[in-house]
Structures are given as structure tokens and as C-alpha cells.
């Protein structure tokens, strides 16, 4: 199990040293959301209605932007061969790398969401629900995303392909993520939406390492 944590630590240190990917995710997320008040006007009623959708779509796109580096750089310099031959099963390798991906990108999206929620005029329970939904939903984005990243690891500039593969998997997260915030804003209970997000997370945490490992095996051949 120490190999598992070693791999996470390595990926986190690499992400910090190379910096640019993590920063670009944060900047993309913030800028995209910031453009909406400028584009559609600062009326708080209008902004409040579209806030959850805008923030979630921006989070989806920001995550997708960072997926290509999940396995790609290790694949290109031969490191993935060595990692695949470590004592760890490839499923756990995929899980460790996905976890590191979430810690270096998804966690940042969660941390930025209170700020963007304020900017988009969310208040009260809707505001808190957004943060909870982001915390529950972004790990699922990384997990589903790793399947797309693993499938396209051998493809140069596979960004468009990853989007096509991953967006259908992201739609449930978007629906329930937005649903939770909207329910809270309308004074309804957000619980079923959050439970669905939790269910999606549990589903993806089991499925995604298996699917990613299978895809990586194909690409290592």
C-alpha cells in the first residue's frame, strides 16, 4: 500500500513543480464564471437563476481541460511502463493517479466555488449547497474523466476525443449538481440530489479504476 501513496505523492509534487496545469484550471474556471455577470448584466435575480448552471458547466469544462495530462506525460516518457510493472495492480495505479488529479485540480474548484457563488449572487442554503455539491461531484468528474484520459492516452492532441467520450458521463453529475442548488434556492430539500451525487461517486469509484486500467492495458501493448 505504501507504493499507492508514493504514487500519489509523486504526482502531487509533479503537479506543483509544473504548476501550469493547476493554475490554468483555476484561471479558466474563475474567468469563465466571471464573464457571465459581464455578459448578461449584474441583475441579481437573473444571475441567481443561472448561477448554479454556469458554475457547474465551468467546472466540467475546467476538469476536462486538465484530463490530458493525467496519463499522457507518463505514457510519452515511458514512465507508465515502469509504473505498470510496479507491484501495484494497474487498477490501483489508475485510482492513485486519479486521486492525485482530483487533489491538484478538483479540490481547487471546490475551494474557489464559495467565491464564485458570492459573485453569482447565490445566498443562504443555496450557497452552502453549492459547496457541498461541488465537494461531492468533482471527485466523480475526475474519476469518469480518467476513463476518457486512459482511452486516449496514445492519441496525440486527443482533447476533442476526450470531450466526446467524457461529456455523456458528466451529464448526470451536471443534472444533480445543478438540481441540488436549484432545489435549495426554491426552498425545497436538496437531500435527494446530494444523495444521487453521492451514489454517482460510489458508482464511479468502483467502475472507473477497472475501466481505466483496462484501457491503459490496451494502450501499453
Amino acid at each position: 500500500m505504501s507504493e499507492f501513496f508514493a504514487l500519489i505523492r509523486r504526482d502531487l509534487v509533479l503537479a506543483r513543480r509544473q504548476g501550469s496545469a493547476t493554475t490554468s484550471v483555476a484561471v479558466f474556471f474563475t474567468l469563465t464564471v466571471t464573464l457571465f455577470p459581464l455578459g448578461i448584466g449584474p441583475e441579481s435575480a437573473l444571475l441567481g437563476t443561472v448561477a448554479s448552471g454556469v458554475i457547474w458547466v465551468a467546472a466540467l469544462l475546467a476538469t476536462m481541460l486538465s484530463l490530458d495530462r493525467l496519463f499522457q506525460s507518463d505514457f510519452e516518457d515511458g514512465s507508465l511502463d515502469v509504473i505498470a510493472l510496479s507491484p501495484l495492480p494497474l487498477e490501483l495505479v489508475a485510482l492513485a493517479k486519479t486521486l492525485a488529479h482530483w487533489l491538484s485540480t478538483g479540490l481547487l474548484l471546490v475551494a474557489l466555488s464559495p467565491l464564485l457563488g458570492l459573485l453569482m449572487q447565490l445566498d443562504g442554503t443555496a450557497y452552502l449547497t453549492l459547496i457541498a455539491a461541488m465537494a461531492l461531484g468533482t471527485p466523480t468528474l475526475s474519476l469518469f474523466g480518467s476513463i476518457g484520459a486512459a482511452l486516449t492516452v496514445g492519441v496525440k492532441r486527443g482533447g476533442v476525443l476526450v470531450s466526446l467520450l467524457v461529456i455523456p458521463l458528466y451529464i448526470p453529475v451536471l443534472i444533480f449538481g445543478v438540481g441540488a442548488v436549484d432545489a435549495a434556492a426554491d426552498g425545497l430539500t436538496q437531500r435527494p440530489h446530494l444523495l444521487m451525487l453521492a451514489a454517482l461517486f460510489l458508482f464511479s469509484v468502483v467502475l472507473s479504476p477497472i475501466a481505466s486500467a483496462a484501457a491503459l492495458r490496451l494502450n501499453l501493448e
Binding site: 508514493a6 509523486r10 509544473q18 515511458g78 514512465s79 511502463d81 515502469v82 510496479s86 507491484p87
Partner: protein, 221 residues
């Protein structure tokens, strides 16, 4: 768990291996035995399937037909055991430019499950004369130095069978001599090696596997 201590599994046997890539036959019916303490040289013209055979023995590639065994145990049912037996150095360098030379080795040691302690890293560095470069960022290394760093990985965690793909590429004569010293030490410890090379190494090799040029005949399925 030190693989050197378990004599039952020291002898590697490949039985009638057939490799098919992209529906083309690379080689077929290849059988050989690698006993502890011996080095087997793999020769053949470019494209004859040397790298494919090494990846196949490493377990990165699945044979279309044929089996591999350690002692009398098949490799298939216990892939983790197999991964702990093989040390693979491919033609890609698996060096992270963002890490220093020593950090590269430290993370590989942790991921490969090698014994902890700085002296393991120190020994690996000095075996390939990298000690004076330990704190240098790996992006500044020359091709030959990267190659040596890649080879130093073999000294981090004990592995029974070393799989080397053109290990002498871009090495100067002194570095080749250091590689030969490492190999002789490994063979002296009852380790074994399968080496694809065009330049003869000054290591007692007990056998040579001659691969015929691949016909790349299409397979009818």
C-alpha cells in the same frame, strides 16, 4: 519479501510464445529457458521483434499463444509475483525533468517497493557514477546521463530477471563498463537477464536468441 530468497521460482521458462501485433505475425513458437545466474542475449535485425519479446516477457504485452512460467508456476494467475520478478528498462528513459536526479530515483524506489533508506539511492547513484549529479534537475542531463539514470533504477529494488532493451545506446565506454559491472554483480547474486543489444557486452552470456526478420504476414482470423 525478497525474491532472491525463494529458489523455487528462479528459472524462467517461455514456451512456444507467439506475438501478433496489429494482426501481423512478429514471431512464433519461441521457446527458451533463462536460468538464475545467466544472461541471455537477444539479437536480430531491426523490426525482428526484440522489443516486443521484452515487453511480452515483462507482461506489458499479452502473447497470442504460449505460456511463461517461473519454476513450475504459470505467470498468469499471479501477475503481482511476476511484476516483482522483472526489472524492465525500455528504450524510453522514464526520467521526470521536473525532479532532480536523486528525486527521480527516490520516487521510483518508493513506487517499485524497494527497501527504504538513503544508502539504496546512494548505491544506485554511485553504481552509474551519478553521485556528483544527484541534486541536478534531470532536465539538464545529457542523453547518456539520462540513460544511466534509467539503468540505475535496476539497483533500487531487487528483481530476479532484468529485461534490457538496447541498454548501451548513447553510453560512453566507461558507462558501458559500469553497466557490465552491475550485470556481473546481478548474475553473481543468482539474478538473470535478457538483453536485446547490437553491441556485444563483456558479460558471460549462456545463450543467444536469434530472432529472424519478421515476415509481417497477415493473420487470417
Amino acid at each position: 519479501m525478497n525474491t532472491y530468497d525463494d529458489p523455487r521460482h528462479h528459472t524462467f521458462t517461455a514456451d512456444r510464445l507467439t506475438c501478433i501485433r496489429g494482426q501481423r505475425l512478429v514471431f512464433s513458437d519461441l521457446s527458451f529457458v533463462i536460468r538464475p545466474g545467466t544472461a541471455t542475449v537477444l539479437s536480430g535485425p531491426n523490426g525482428s521483434g526484440k522489443s516486443s519479446l521484452l515487453r511480452l516477457v515483462a507482461g506489458l504485452l499479452k502473447p497470442a499463444v504460449g505460456t511463461m512460467t517461473w519454476g513450475d508456476e504459470l505467470t498468469r494467475p499471479d501477475p503481482e509475483f511476476h511484476r516483482r520478478q522483472v526489472g524492465f528498462v525500455g528504450h524510453q528513459d522514464a526520467v521526470k525533468p521536473a525532479f532532480t536526479v536523486a528525486e527521480n530515483l527516490r520516487y521510483w524506489r518508493a513506487i517499485l517497493g524497494g527497501a527504504s533508506g538513503e544508502n539504496v539511492i546512494g548505491a544506485a547513484l554511485s553504481a552509474h557514477d551519478l553521485g556528483h549529479l544527484a541534486d541536478l534537475p534531470a532536465r539538464l542531463l545529457s542523453a547518456g546521463q539520462r540513460r544511466r539514470l534509467n539503468l540505475a533504477r535496476l539497483n533500487l529494488a531487487p528483481r530476479q530477471l532484468w529485461l534490457l532493451d538496447e541498454p548501451t545506446v548513447s553510453l560512453d565506454s566507461e558507462s558501458v563498463a559500469r553497466l557490465e559491472t552491475c550485470l556481473r554483480q546481478h548474475l553473481g547474486n543468482q539474478g538473470s537477464a535478457l538483453i536485446a543489444t547490437h553491441t556485444p557486452l563483456n558479460v558471460e552470456s549462456s545463450a543467444t536468441i536469434e530472432l529472424a526478420p519478421a515476415t509481417w504476414g497477415a493473420i487470417d482470423e
